[in-house]
């Protein structure tokens, strides 16, 4: 796979150009747009490819065959394991990585959310954001989580039955999925 081709940028494009192209493609193939659509599988496949390409370009400037063994790759592996539901493996791998960093907290957030420990997930995300205030991935994940909670709270206060199912679908995304989807290359680019 040629990552430049996948992202539709010229070889040697700058980091900003790559990032811009990447974000546009993610928007285009985002699973939300393909809900109940027969093309959903295709879009998912495509999104995976896009993420891979972006990660390749971000890991040490993409010189072929250079598999990065940096911390970033390992943290990403943790997220992948979480995505596949292999929680014990994800926890084992994470325990071997340096703890207390923003990435570490983000991984913990993904794991705990998957385990249904939402309170802990929130605390870890907050810690990740404190350690890396500008990181857009963490912010997006956090906003998504808080959005779901706020909608629920408003329902409670207005005392109305929630009948707007379409609206709910958007916010009912699992937080863990969100972590994985938003993850992409941002996660790597910050390290």
């Amino acid at each position: 796979m040629n990552p430049y081709e996948v992202l539709g940028v010229r070889e040697g494009a700058s980091k900003e150009e790559i990032r811009k192209a990447y974000l546009e493609l993610v928007k285009k193939y985002h699973p939300d747009k393909y809900r109940n659509n027969p093309l959903a599988d295709l879009a998912e496949e495509k999104l995976k490819e896009i993420n891979e390409a972006y990660n390749m370009l971000n890991q040490g400037g993409y010189s072929r065959g250079q598999s990065s063994s940096s911390g970033g790759a390992s943290y990403q592996r943790v997220i992948e394991l979480v995505e596949r539901g292999q929680i014990p493996e994800a926890e084992r791998l994470l325990s071997q990585l340096p703890s207390g960093t923003g990435q570490w907290h983000f991984c913990r957030a993904a794991i705990t959310a998957r385990l249904g420990r939402y309170g802990e997930a929130q605390q870890h995300l907050q810690a990740a954001m404190r350690l890396e205030p500008g990181n857009p991935t963490y912010q997006a994940a956090y906003q998504q989580m808080m959005g779901a909670m706020n909608q629920q709270r408003q329902t409670a206060f207005s005392g109305q039955k929630d009948t707007d199912d379409i609206c709910r679908v958007c916010t009912a995304l699992y937080f863990a999925d969100c972590c994985c989807e938003c993850m992409g290359g941002d996660f790597i680019s910050c390290c």
Binding site: G116, G119, A148, M149, Q151, Q152, A156, G159, D162, R168
Partner: protein, 285 residues
């Protein structure tokens, strides 16, 4: 853990109110018939909810009869009868109350707990014989909870897990869907966390275990001040859990949904808001 899972009565239609009461009163009767009069004292909204939901997920026809209640002989009321779901809920109801009292005695040395345990032990033995596996499962999970409490577990999420698993166990009837079990699990989490927050001030004063105390590192400050400090994260946790729970609930193929909708979609929301505001039942928001 009791009393958080009940309908919002003013929002019920009269017919639905009577329908709910037919289950509540029917459960009370089923308990008396099946397990003896003592068991009727353990009648709870939680057990009624269990019967309502399991019944609404099955195709069984309901048999309603009109009769009089010994405690309220003035007026005739509706009773549900001959329902396997009521029988099951009767057994579960006794177990829940028994273990709750046992827990009160262990943790707070509450004398009512000890008296209750003694009082209920015969009834509990009856249930144990019928539901060996279930009773064993509950006892096992409560043991897990005890271990967490002894270790002063500093996470309300983790402390909630044994109880959440108990709830899942209670709904693990033949043919239970994954959706139903996930719903039950989140419901267990919600109940535990609501209870922990509701009891926080009292627990700080009495020194009983409360996961929030350790999760948010209580330093001996005024209980009401500490309560306000931990409120935002607890609020997040409760509403987020509630969102998940209601998403699962909406996927369930429920046949008679009026009362259940009222409890799950309305009642739980209101209770969450009320407990967070620190109000008792009746002091409405």
């Amino acid at each position: 853990m009791f009393g958080y899972l009940r309908p919002v009565e003013p929002e019920l239609k009269i017919k639905d109110f009577h329908y709910f009461r037919a289950y509540y009163c029917g459960l009370c009767r089923a308990m008396g018939k099946r397990l003896g009069q003592t068991s009727r004292l353990t009648l709870s909204y939680e057990a009624t909810f269990l019967a309502l939901l399991l019944s609404a997920l099955s195709d069984d026809a309901e048999q309603l009869t009109v009769g009089r209640c010994l405690l309220h002989p003035g007026r005739k009321r509706l009773f549900l009868k001959n329902s396997p779901h009521l029988d099951y809920a009767a057994d579960v109801g006794v177990l829940l109350v028994y273990y709750k009292l046992l827990d009160d005695w262990h943790n707070e040395r509450a004398i009512q707990g000890l008296l209750g345990v003694g009082f209920l032990s015969l009834t509990k033995n009856k249930v144990h014989k019928k539901r060996k596996q279930l009773a064993g499962g509950i006892a096992w999970e409560l043991d897990q909870l005890q271990t967490l409490e002894d270790a002063a577990c500093p996470s309300v999420d983790r402390a909630a897990e044994p109880f959440a698993r108990i709830m899942r166990e209670l709904f693990s009837v033949p043919g239970a869907s994954e959706e139903l079990l996930s719903f039950a699990y989140e419901l267990g989490r919600w109940l535990y966390i609501v209870d922990a927050f509701d009891d926080l001030e009292a627990d700080l004063k009495s020194g009983s275990y409360n996961p929030l105390r350790y999760q948010f590192a209580w330093q001996g400050e005024e209980a009401s001040i500490f309560r306000e400090q931990v409120k935002p994260p607890v609020e997040f946790n409760l509403y987020y859990t509630l969102g998940k729970l209601q998403d699962h609930y909406r996927q369930l193929p429920i046949v008679r949904r009026e009362v259940l909708d009222n409890i799950v979609l309305l009642g739980l929301n209101q209770t969450t808001a009320r407990i967070l505001a620190g109000k008792k039942r009746g002091e409405d928001n």
